[in-house]
Symmetry: C2
Subunit: 140 residues, 2 copies
Amino acid sequence: MTDYATLLKESDLKATFQRMNILSVIDEYGHMSVDDIYAEVIKVHPSLSLATIYKNIILMVEKGVVVEVPIVGRKSKYELAKADHMHLVCTECGMVEDKQCVDEADAVFESLTQEEQFKLNKRQVNLYGICASCQTQKAS
Amino acid sequence: MTDYATLLKESDLKATFQRMNILSVIDEYGHMSVDDIYAEVIKVHPSLSLATIYKNIILMVEKGVVVEVPIVGRKSKYELAKADHMHLVCTECGMVEDKQCVDEADAVFESLTQEEQFKLNKRQVNLYGICASCQTQKAS
DNA sequence: CTTCATGCAAATAATTTGCAGTAAG
DNA sequence: CTTACTGCAAATTATTTGCATGAAG
């Protein structure tokens, strides 16, 4: 994914310099909070305002370009919309890693919710723990 | 669960009127945001302050008495600590319902993370969709 | 051109903190 | 008694909004 302009236009959003910057930062790092995005983006475009990030995150989430990933004990992060997947979340360093969904599990969720007349739209699986890198650091 | 006093003392927290109120409200409704708790609790104890709720939620989460449930597009809710389970979250009305975990899925998560040297501590599964009651309301 | 987006500053909402007064154990 | 907890008000942080200017299509 590099063509953020097309992505934006397909969602009826003008392809501004600012929006493309925001998307590219999210894309590059994978999972970013509003503050993370701001910190990165002003390196390239120092006058880009926090308000613009807030406004655009809200818009892009509405349009489905970007997805919110709420996390225990931290501010939400945002990622580019993509195929359903799970998250490994390190409770030490905050790192978030994508992990492919497991069909077996998905099938179970599907049937579970159907029993209950619940119309399932979106699955969110976050696995919290300590990443390999933080484990070795703690050991030392 | 009714003995909030014991629960608190076991966690080295004084069993104050305020804390027992907060716990009983969470217990009664299942999943409550800070504001929800405040709205309920002042019915019984009108002078109980929001600050007290914030301070205690933080404390009780640290002590493991209460658990944060972060939710897409809304403020986090809190529930009493209990056996691992999943959540059905209605994106219309915000209702959250507990649903028992599925052993098969858990086993998969366990092995998936082990491969990766990730030390898994806590699983969080949120299934977003529309609850039966909101579906019938929309139909009408 | 026309419409929508940006940036700033100001407004609002959310959360945290300090501290004097209370209550729990 | 002693220590920890509460409530209030003030401080901070987070998020939203209004509006004049500027850029996209």
